[in-house]
């Protein structure tokens, strides 16, 4: 649990606004594979489906925590949709240089959980490697808004899943008895 740095009433009010905006388009977002499971302060839980697959498959669940918002950026936990235990997937991004980078890092120094290393997330702004890119610079730009975070999670972790890769392996469980002369 995060330490409280501002009056929860402030965060709650901002949380309500973010959730109200999102719920207005719940049905459209569902068509994109965003299943809004719950929104109880301070956490919004959303499960993402890979809708390009038939049948669609649940790829991951995220808990977005608005504690101390917007003094601090929201914090994101990436979870297995079934067990709700921490889950690490690749978040591939093609840079203008053509280089592909993975935005998911295995373990944050504070939480020891996988995190999305992207401006607008608390994990990014609290990481020592990004102490030159303060949340204050992004705070009023809509980076860190609920929609922004979900949109980028979908873009880098879910939308790039477009096909199954199946491999078959036969397992021998017995032998056919040949006739004995």
């Amino acid at each position: 649990m995060q330490q409280l740095l501002i009056d929860p009433k402030v965060s709650r009010k901002k949380f309500k606004k973010e959730v109200k905006d999102l719920l207005k388009y719940k049905s459209e977002l569902r068509k994109r594979g965003w299943i809004i499971e719950s929104a109880k302060f301070p956490i919004v839980r959303v499960t993402f489906l890979a809708i390009r697959l038939t049948p669609p498959i649940a790829i991951l669940t995220v808990d977005i925590d608005f504690t101390n918002y917007n003094l601090c950026a929201p914090s994101i936990r990436f979870l297995n949709p079934v067990t709700l235990t921490p889950n690490c997937l690749q978040a591939l991004r093609k840079l203008p240089s053509g280089e592909v980078s993975n935005l998911m890092i295995n373990a944050h120094l504070d939480t020891r959980e996988p995190f999305l290393c992207l401006p607008g997330t608390n994990e990014y702004h609290t990481h020592p490697q990004h102490d030159g890119d303060s949340w204050d610079i992004h705070r009023y730009t809509r980076e860190g808004s609920l929609f922004f975070l979900l949109d980028n999670i979908c873009k880098y972790l879910v939308q790039n899943i477009s096909a199954f890769h199946l491999s078959f392996q036969f397992t021998q469980i017995g032998f056919i008895q040949e006739a004995v002369e």
Binding site: E18, D21, L22, K24, Y25, E28, K31, R32, R93, L95, S101, N102, L103, I105, L116, C117, L118, P119, G120, Y124, H130, D133, H138, Y140, T141, R142, E143, S145, L146, F147, F148, D151, N152, C154, Q159
Partner: protein
């Protein structure tokens, strides 16, 4: 082309605008408008000018990224436009 034809070409399309997940109501555009021009016009009208317009993407209601070099009419019967802010460089 006659003036009458010009007016015929200026068919207006009403589209709901959603910017960063927030609804801004329905706006009317000529169907021949270039999407890049539409993006800039919408961002200015809605006072979303803190970021360069180049930092915004435009998607349809299914989340498909639209090609800004195309015109509104190229996408047929479009009801909603979703504006999303591109993320800064992380990693």
């Amino acid at each position: 082309m006659t003036k009458k034809d010009d007016k015929k070409d200026d068919k207006k399309i009403e589209i709901e605008i959603i910017i960063s997940g927030t609804g801004y109501g329905v706006m009317s555009f000529p169907d021949g408008i270039n999407l890049k021009g539409l993006r800039d016009q919408v961002l200015e009208k809605t006072n979303n000018i803190g970021q360069s317009s180049e930092n915004w993407e435009v998607r349809d209601s299914d989340g498909n990224l639209l090609d800004l070099s195309k015109h509104l009419q190229d996408y047929g019967d479009i009801k909603q436009l979703w504006f999303s802010l591109k993320a800064g460089i992380g990693g």
